[in-house]
Symmetry: C2
Subunit: 143 residues, 2 copies
């Protein structure tokens, strides 16, 4: 997960400016366990930021791999590793259909990842992305 120091470094390294709005968006995303879309982020700033600004910031963050877009929820969530530089790992998400909490699947579990890759080696290319939908442990308990 990125804090403001880390994001500062990432932005500067890539030639982007460190701005209030960008830090604000980061902060908001950092506080959320579920994916947020641009309008939800806006609301949380009490409309201090314009939607267009938020969209543009999200675009930059996506490029810098600070966050991921979760298709299932049409929202953005911070990358849960602060050094997510390659396409192969750390993209995969598990999305709970009840509470919407979204967790990154850390495929340090190489063995499992490899078994998926083997399975689909006909169709999978270098880059691929898995999104798993289900119900998380917490929600199962409180059922």
């Amino acid at each position: 997960m990125f804090d403001s120091n880390q994001i500062t470094e990432v932005l500067q390294k890539a030639g982007y400016r460190v701005t209030e709005p960008r830090l604000k968006v980061l902060e908001i995303l950092g506080e959320s366990k579920k994916p947020l879309n641009a309008y939800e982020i806006c609301e949380k700033t009490k409309s201090n930021l314009d939607v267009s600004t938020v969209y543009r910031i999200l675009e930059v963050f996506k490029k810098l791999k600070v966050l991921h877009f979760v298709k299932d929820k049409k929202g953005y969530i911070l990358c849960q590793e602060s050094e997510c530089k390659n396409d192969k790992h750390c993209h995969h998400q598990f999305v709970c259909q009840k509470c919407e909490e979204t967790t990154e699947m850390h495929l340090d579990d190489q063995e499992f990842l490899k078994s998926i890759e083997d399975k689909f080696k006909d169709v999978l290319f270098a880059s691929h992305y898995f999104e798993f939908s289900g119900v998380c442990g917490n929600c199962r308990k409180n059922n």
Copy 2:
């Protein structure tokens, strides 16, 4: 895949009417290898159908499990089995990021499915849905 006879049966069984617009939408989806959204379907009817109508038809088809919504493409694709009645199988999609062709993964391969389920037994519940992104065999060849 559903043809017009099958859809007729499905609709009638569920108490829905068999209408021109519904058959038309089915036909269009049947001709497409990639997911289509409501507006794309409209265009293909040369605007014979209103968007709202298409949305409502898609809603019905979804309920009847005639098609699936592919989040990755924000579009609908026909279920590739004509008897898709349970949640457990036949929902999983492989989406090619180049040509957008989307194939259902028939998890008759119980063993593999089971290995995924085992892996995620803490988080997965009865129902779950996998969407795999990658590049399909054809696109790999022509690269």
